[in-house]
Every structure is written in structure tokens, then in C-alpha cells.
């Protein structure tokens, strides 16, 4: 996926604490680099259509609701968000490849240092994604908000 800058940032959202931070970091990067944000929520399953089971349909509905809630809370544009179906890491990597994304931004769980490290979307994407990955911990949201208010005060 190396090459020119295409101006697309994928923000992968799940149920981790860092999801708000991921959106704020993605927004800051998008403003700084004149890029668009594509927010992606992943539902477990194999795909849409007649073969979709009840649990897959439920997962897709949950992913759509999560996306709608985050779009509303963060006042994101109505376009630029998508529900993908399948394994979370593979689905996000596939969307990133389809969109020729330059960067993936994903949230992290709240401080796990000193505990057993668990596999997560952030960890697996960081290890395998075909493009740069920014991992935003929950603490980053406060820092981003702080910088924004500081910048506002200076203007």
C-alpha cells in the first residue's frame, strides 16, 4: 500500500474505551492533512443477504447503532461511515485496502500495563495492517480536547 498520499483516514470503532479518542485523533489528523474520515464499525458474521443468521443480523444492527450514536455524538458528516461484516481485523484491513487508506486510527483499552496483555483490535491491526496505524488510548481524548481549547484561547 505504499505510494502517494490519498487523503483517506479510516477510523475503526468498537466497544473499547478509546473509541472517542480515536475519533478525535482521526478528526485532528484529517484537519491537519486535509483528509476525509471514513468511520468503520464491524459486525461479526459472513455477509449480508438470505444466508444471514439472526445473530449476524443482530450484530449488524448493533454495529449500525454504535456507528449512528458515535456519528451523532461527535457531529460527524452524514456520509463517511460504514458497517463492515466479518472478522474485525480482516474487515478493517479490507476496507483500508479498498479505500487506499493512508492511516487507520483505532481506540485502545484503558491502561492494561501490568496486567496480562489481551488481544484486541488495536493490537492485531498494529501488528498486521497494510498501512500506518494510530492507536488512541482513552487518555488521548482529554489531551486532544485540551489542545483544542488551548488553540481556541490563543486565537
Amino acid at each position: 500500500m505504499s505510494g502517494s498520499w490519498n487523503g483517506t483516514i479510516i477510523c475503526a470503532v468498537d466497544e473499547t474505551d478509546g473509541v472517542d479518542a480515536a475519533i478525535e485523533v482521526a478528526r485532528e489528523l484529517a484537519e491537519r492533512f486535509d483528509a476525509r474520515i471514513l468511520v468503520v464499525s464491524v459486525a461479526d458474521g459472513h455477509g449480508f443477504g438470505l444466508g444471514e443468521s439472526a445473530s449476524e443480523r443482530q450484530a449488524r444492527t448493533g454495529a449500525r447503532r454504535r456507528l449512528d450514536r458515535l456519528v451523532a455524538e461527535h457531529e460527524l458528516p452524514d456520509e463517511g461511515h460504514r458497517v463492515a461484516v466479518g472478522d474485525a481485523v480482516e474487515a478493517v484491513a479490507l476496507v483500508a485496502a479498498e479505500e487506499a487508506a493512508d492511516v487507520i486510527v483505532v481506540g485502545a483499552r484503558r491502561g492494561l500495563l501490568g496486567r496480562t496483555l489481551r488481544s484486541s483490535l488495536a493490537a492485531e491491526l498494529a501488528a498486521t495492517a497494510p498501512c500506518p496505524v494510530v492507536v488512541a488510548p482513552p487518555e488521548a481524548a482529554a489531551a486532544t480536547a485540551g489542545r483544542a481549547s488551548h488553540a481556541h484561547l490563543r486565537t
Binding site: 500500500m1 493490537a123 498494529a126 500506518p132 488510548p137
Partner: protein
């Protein structure tokens, strides 16, 4: 230690002109040591190459309390282009992204 110092030398040469760089060698388990250092230094961003196995990147991503940028081995060109753009001239983004490119370049050398 000698190999670490050589890598640090290449990295600081690459970011020269974009950002001030301080070199340091730390001892310990890589992910935990880096996260503790980032905490002590109140770092705004940790930049690391994905490397061959992605193990360090995954461990950092699972536990970080600071923003983390992980760069695959074949991505330095794109990041250099970001750093050269109009928004990269204020020093900080350009320096960060150049450092990321260096981290990715180190990953390529590992592969070779």
C-alpha cells in the same frame, strides 16, 4: 547496546532539521520499558515500526496509555510525503512523520 546506538545515530540524523532528538538506551522488556519511559517523559506520541513479527507493536497497542503510531516496513515514502506537505512545515508533524519513516526503514533493514 552497540546495535542500539547505531540505530539511534541513524534516527537522529534523519530527523535533524525537523525536530530536536535526544538519544537514550534503556534496558528491559521492550514494550513495558517503552511505555514506562513514555510515561516518565509525558510523551505525546510513541512511534514504532511494525517490524517483522509485529510483536512489539501489538504489545504496545494493547497496553499503551499514549497515542501510538505503528508504521509498516514499506510505508516510509508515504509518510515522508505527509511530512513535506504544507501542514508538515511547522516542525512537529514533519519531525514525527520523518521519525516514523525512519522506524519503518529500520523494519526494512530487518527484513533484508
Amino acid at each position: 547496546v552497540t546495535a542500539s546506538i547505531a540505530v539511534l545515530g541513524r534516527a537522529t540524523r534523519a530527523v535533524r532539521g525537523h525536530a530536536e532528538a535526544e538519544r537514550r538506551v534503556e534496558f528491559g522488556a521492550p514494550a513495558v520499558t517503552l511505555l514506562l519511559l513514555a510515561g516518565r517523559e509525558n510523551a505525546e506520541l510513541i512511534v514504532v515500526g511494525a517490524g517483522r513479527s509485529g510483536r512489539l507493536a501489538a504489545a504496545l497497542a494493547a497496553a499503551t496509555t499514549r497515542p501510538l503510531l505503528v508504521v509498516p516496513a514499506d510505508e516510509p515514502a508515504r509518510l515522508r510525503e505527509m511530512g513535506r506537505g504544507p501542514h508538515g512545515r511547522n516542525g512537529v508533524p514533519a519531525g514525527i512523520l520523518e521519525a516514523a519513516a525512519v522506524a519503518a526503514g529500520e523494519g526494512q533493514r530487518e527484513l533484508a
